[in-house]
Symmetry: C2
Subunit: 225 residues, 2 copies
């Protein structure tokens, strides 16, 4: 809490004219998500253009734009403190471990982001483009024991590591510790992500589900400041 206030004082205050222009918060995950930009806006042209720039520069890295559709006031992460901001999330990498390929991809992503900011500040024009946006719809918790709240199943082997592969109704979702398969009971096919993220067990999130909206436009932009 103390650290949050310090960061808000240094980089914000959030929502104020004095807040910094851009905050990029670096994360890694045990989920097989490749490199994702996670933002609270689906129409922040700076975030969308940076995303397209990274996609072009790093064609070998699976890359997605995730939109957390919550009001700005309810946004809670570091990147929400700036005027523009996003989290750069990369995986899979166990917590407490450095994997060279993951480190190299994150380093390249940060460098390309800084390059884009330099181009923009130098007056470069960026043409409008299309971006697929994954909008988070809901989280799904593990099946838990009613009394102890301990989990009684893990992610199904057929779903493990299949982040961003469409999950259809009746597809396997969990495997209980006695071996039973539990299926996805939603009535709409959605895209799973953050599948089996270590830090989300305590948050009650086994995976999140997103709807994909293709062709979100990021308009032509030029820094006219």
């Amino acid at each position: 809490m103390i650290r949050s206030r310090e960061l808000n004082a240094t980089l914000g205050p959030k929502g104020s004219p004095g807040a910094v222009e851009l905050v990029c918060d670096l994360h890694n995950t045990t989920a097989n998500m490749g490199l994702c930009l996670i933002a609270y806006s689906d129409c922040d042209w700076i975030c969308l253009h940076i995303f397209r720039h990274l996609q072009r520069k790093m064609p070998d890295i699976p890359m997605r734009y995730i939109h957390f559709d919550v009001p700005h006031k309810e946004s809670y992460s570091l990147d929400s403190v700036g005027k523009h901001g996003f989290a750069m999330e990369i995986g899979p990498q166990p917590h407490g471990v450095v994997r060279s390929n993951v480190y190299a991809a994150m380093k390249a992503g940060v460098q390309h982001m800084l390059d884009w900011v330099c181009f923009f500040n130098s007056g470069s024009t960026f043409e409008g483009e299309y971006v697929d946006v994954f909008t988070m719809i809901k989280h799904i918790d593990y099946p838990r024991d009613r009394e102890t709240r301990k989990i009684r199943a893990a992610i199904h082997p057929q779903l493990q590591d299949q982040d961003f592969c469409l999950l259809h109704p009746e597809d396997p979702l969990f495997q209980t510790f006695s071996g039973e398969t539990l299926r996805y009971k939603g009535d709409e096919a959605l895209y799973p992500f953050f599948i089996n993220e270590c830090a989300y067990y305590e948050k009650g999130i086994a995976l999140s589900l997103a709807r994909k909206r293709p062709d979100q436009t990021c308009q032509n932009v030029k820094n006219s400041a």
Copy 2:
């Protein structure tokens, strides 16, 4: 320390006639090691026969027998408290995460071990067989900053996840955070394992190296008690 003494009192005392017959200590690792039995002896016929039994019963799981060649007095892990004992190590699995396939393999391994003990106690005869034994030769630490002791390289991408694939002199070993490749300077090809295990950063172990000795015999055995 208190817990160690409690366990030694309950299952040991280590080295005494009152120690339990068999201790199996269950572990998981971020290294891509499949299922390994790790023992302080390369000629404990109970451990070797249990290993062969698991190999036969679980043909789809990569399985190795690792020998830590240290005197019994210096052995430090739980399984050294029993008259016979080994660790069952499985990976890759991030710490703090349950992966269904890893859970299922460990569960099956434990069940097959208990089955073997039942067969043995019922008077079954087990014929002599051959086992490949990987004897641990040495550990290799990460390159570190001389003053801060922080690591300045990670496991090389070409070595990551290649546990038990022979490492030859001059093969890539580490990649520094500035991108330089550091090579294996040993003069003997050895088998790497525990590559990039999360809990071993603080122990100063980036990987361990083993020599493979094929055809260790486990003799015919029958419980004549």
